[in-house]
Symmetry: D2
Subunit: 375 residues, 4 copies
């Protein structure tokens, strides 16, 4: 029995699915969502992206004590390039307590406090989609990228939260791009080892984040804890479900993470050793023909092509490709043989869209479409 | 018989060496040097660095036809952060023909034309120190970094240019930093393989070089021909002399070169596989205890320590370390085990000083000190 | 008799206007447009913005000799953040000669050659919308910003080109933002003098434009000829039609133009002396209540509000406001009394959208809507 | 009776002045100095610049509680491009209390706490040179730029601190460059009004200062309180002493301050209205012939020429001129008539050297040379 079979009322479910294809009905029944950590950088981005979403309606924003009680527009120092929506601006900022008037909560909380709060929400029947790191390595929590490990949703049925409460975690922003690019290779040839050097944009550090004096005209060849995440998260994401937990995918990963003076977009230089021999043409085809397992689901935020493959020798570049498919696609280029491993290439992904806010919204869309959300 | 033994007049040689330790005499007898390609970026940097050098006096500047006949200050669009010296500004720009009133010529010519011109100068008895790529892989031309392959000067005696003419080539700027950092490891443990990802500053592309619209807020993950140089030059530099040519050092190198929005300083992320097992402590000690083979020579431009080793987890950084030892040292940090190769680390070098103009001047100093220049 | 009355066939005109409100019909009858200088930076931006425009269809691209005969996608080094449309990519690049299969031509030619070519096109019945400077100060050519000097379209009837040929010029990019911001003040209080200091982004210089080494971590306090344009163009734009030419608006302007390391968006610091006394509140209201004379025309590219007024003390900022209303609005903030003139404020406009490609498209839309284009 | 006449022992004074010209003696008797707020950005810069100073020896560093008791090298996160001197690194960080073993204290404290602490030090006989804003407008405290208002040192005799205690304040960093550039004009022609727009570098905001996400690829057209300082400080600096206070110089100033993505160097666009008519040539000559009133004093940090005048139409630029005369000179260029005021020009000064740490050291040098310091 999957959670999807667990609908308490079959009619509701039918109606629900119908709703999704009926724009009009849907407008009346958009899923109420809340954002925890709504004044921070990821919170703002998420509110910007989800505003006017055809399936979701922001009904709650929560933040730390000093913001609570104010209207969101008073509490926030809005730094997005699109004006704050009036509707959201009028919402009162609440405490991140499980009495928020919504069904889904996006947790954009600081990793130090997110864990406990997210648990409380799940225990109270909320679907929690977390951008924080707290539950990423929790054996019952899918570390989730819809195009990569859809099957891991099965884990949700072992979470045992009441009232369809659930927790699902978005991986680290640099991991998301890497996993999306590696997925077709892993599927077709298997992956034995990965060597990755990242050049991560300043927005990945949030706000205030990196001081300008530290990064202007500079590179900082270190990001606290980031390399560990690039080593441990991928194995879980590519892992296979063994009854109630995930058996990690055995893969040797070596990572060096650096911060560069770029506003948005993580670029990663990857060398990969495959399990099965493959020609350059086969690898290229794997990238080019990788099609989204989301394709038929018509999720509003899903990219038409999760991977865009570039033949040009100087692509991808953050400034030119980060916004492809509204920032939801990963760009791959410079594929060539590697004298040490098998092949090497360069990938780019938009760290605050695909790697954070947009990635979280896509998860929410999938949950709704697949019947995990009931409202 | 080495060139050094070939002094035509033993007394001259004695006097010469004496001069070098006598500041006063030396002022009267500074070696006359010329710069080919003097109006370009490397040419300007070289003139800035060599101006008021205690051993050298700039007596000739040459450039392309449109500058010839003008005074240097009229011909050049000076972009250095230090004002152009009046003395140099008054020099007349000449054609790059071997009738320049000097003994050493620094070739900062474009690689497409440098080769032939440099040959002409050497055949006319000039000592040519080349920043261009033309002769780098020529079997009789040392590809030279004083601290790394001093013994390759022996090759000069096979060049057979008249009147002590000679050609010596400075390696590619990204190669110089890499070789200096690898040298202690190669000496102590041997190197089997190297994986390197570079983040190279915009000054490496000269002027006008990279358009600001192409690199502002961006990374370009490709530099034409650069990866080939990082693969082929190191083997020659670490090679051993076999009678009249260099036997390359067998080493598997994989390189990815990128351009980043940093004004000066190439940062390189390196993984290395050693021939002999070594502990982290041993590797660290190799870096820290590497002492310059130039030490006793007291060359004005030589760094006291060719390698500066950093224990801090976020060093080296271009902005903080590129100017160490007036830009002539290489900084190494983030040394740690690598799960794929043996160890990995990050290095930084100043590409237009150590990697170009300053490196060329250091070579000239060594030639003078070792008696290769006779004036 | 105005040109608008000059329809050869009244029915056509009726039908034409009807078409504009009928989406379906329109799709079949989009106006064929061509772009001269299509491979340059403004040309690319224009093609990116106009692709899939509901009123226009790109049917011709022209560029210099070395591109002619190639398909556009072969000829261009596409640097836009949105992929090149396939349809446009397939077009053959032609010579900028008046045999292009289109009705409107956008001239993105270099100012040195634009003048003559634009004349040829107009003489052959094309409507020429010029981003070049050649005809800006021509007494019979409107120097045109739809929201500012709509009445200057009257000049077109004196151009006397056959077959409804016409030339209309878009002002300098820094002038457009300034004029839009000053317009409400000029309308309500009159303007006596303006002191303006611009901080202009690198995209204003085109491609390759400013070398990265020249502008990274730097400001260049000079842009060739730019200050002259800021002095002479505004007087014409605010001028009044006197029969067949424009009588310039008397206004004392002092301008200093600088280039700053920002990718997009010109910021201008303005002090203004008014003809009539006005309170701060009145000036603020003038900005806030300025409504677009285009409002009723429903032009696709027109901003809902030409001016966005900001009360925050640190706005507008290039990164936060340049994309307001898809880059077509001007942002104004920091309004306060000036001890030397009357008031001072800061304005921001998107130089390659509002100030170039988008501004040109808006002019085309207005020409179509007002019946100047007949196809 | 001036303080200078107040030497308790005439012989000491003679000896002191003798010492200053005797390098050897001086080495043994360098003035002991302390730095308050030593771990901050200005504090670090000051320690970098003063290390190995021939007249001063750093004997005390003080900072906030969390650093106290640690060695300086443990307490500081050193971000200067030159390694921390070992000698200073070993100093124990103390509380900013007037028991520090030194004679001069440089106050690099935060403006919110500096005032009271500086008073305490002065009352205990220390010479306080303040980089903080606390006492700048205090009627008895010279707001001091040695080349501009040397005569204001006379105020010190009215401070009435015991044991030669004194407080002297360095102006705001943007004010220093402006005053130095205006000084020759004020001296020769008088100044009636000034319109200034600043483009200030990120280092002016200290560390962590401006978040990189806020300023990368952006301009912030506002710096809190900065415009007020540009209006009020100049009048005092150009003021004349009236017995025991300064009568401000009447001058109408309009200022707009912006923050730009440049690492070091404040650029200012200035229009000026003179009291007496002057030709362009006269104004230019005033700039070019302005000679330092410090010239004969041979202070180690004094620039040979306080103002460098540039004829080139695109100078000065932060990257090219900020380091002129080790960052202590002001660069002026683009002088031309202004249609609204009389003349306009652009100036550049190094904000953390001339505008902060270097400017403070120069003041200390002058105090020593003129006999205000007794140790």
């Amino acid at each position: 029995m999957t959670i999807k079979d667990d609908f308490q009322d079959q009619d509701s479910r039918e109606k629900f699915i119908q709703d999704l294809s009926s724009q009009e009905l849907h407008q009346r029944r958009r899923v109420p969502v809340g954002v925890l950590g709504a004044t921070g950088n990821v919170g703002q981005k998420l509110l910007m992206l989800i505003d006017k979403h055809q399936w979701f309606k922001v009904t709650a924003v929560a933040a730390s004590e000093k913001s609570q009680g104010k209207s969101y527009k008073e509490a926030v120092e809005w730094r997005m390039p699109v004006p704050l929506s009036e509707e959201i601006g009028e919402l009162e900022v609440m405490a991140p307590e499980p009495n928020l008037p919504c069904k889904i909560v996006f947790s954009c909380l600081d990793g130090n406090i997110a864990g406990e709060i997210e648990q409380k929400f799940a225990k109270n029947g909320y679907a929690v989609i977390s951008c924080a790191r707290s539950h990423r390595m929790d054996p019952k929590v899918p570390l989730f990228i819809p195009e990569v490990n859809m099957q891991h949703l099965e884990l949700l049925k072992f979470q045992n939260f009441p009232n369809r409460g659930l927790i699902i975690a978005k991986p680290n922003c640099a991991v998301i791009g890497l996993m999306m690019a590696l997925r077709p290779l892993q599927l077709e040839f298997g992956i034995e080892a990965v060597h990755v050097v990242t050049m991560q944009s300043i927005s990945g550090a949030g706000f205030p984040g990196v001081p300008s004096m530290a990064i202007a005209d500079n590179i900082i060849p270190y990001i606290a804890n980031e390399e560990d995440r690039l080593v441990e998260e991928p194995a879980k994401i590519f892992g296979t479900i063994d009854v109630d937990h995930i058996e990690p995918y055995p893969m040797n990963i070596s990572a060096t993470c650096t911060r560069v003076p770029v506003t948005e977009g993580h670029l990663e230089v990857v060398s990969v050793k495959l399990k099965e021999k493959a020609t350059l043409e086969q690898v290229k085809r794997a990238f080019k023909e990788f099609s989204s397992p989301l394709e038929e689901l018509k999720l509003p935020s899903a990219p038409s092509y999760p991977i865009h493959y570039f033949e040009e020798n100087d692509m991808p570049q953050p400034k030119l490709q980060r916004d492809l498919e509204r920032g939801m696609a990963v760009s791959v280029g410079r594929l060539r043989p590697d004298s040490l491993m098998d092949y090497k290439f360069v990938l780019l992904s938009h760290n605050t869209v695909r790697g954070a806010a947009g990635g979280a919204i896509l998860i929410a869309e999938l949950l709704v479409k697949n019947g995990y959300i009931f409202w």
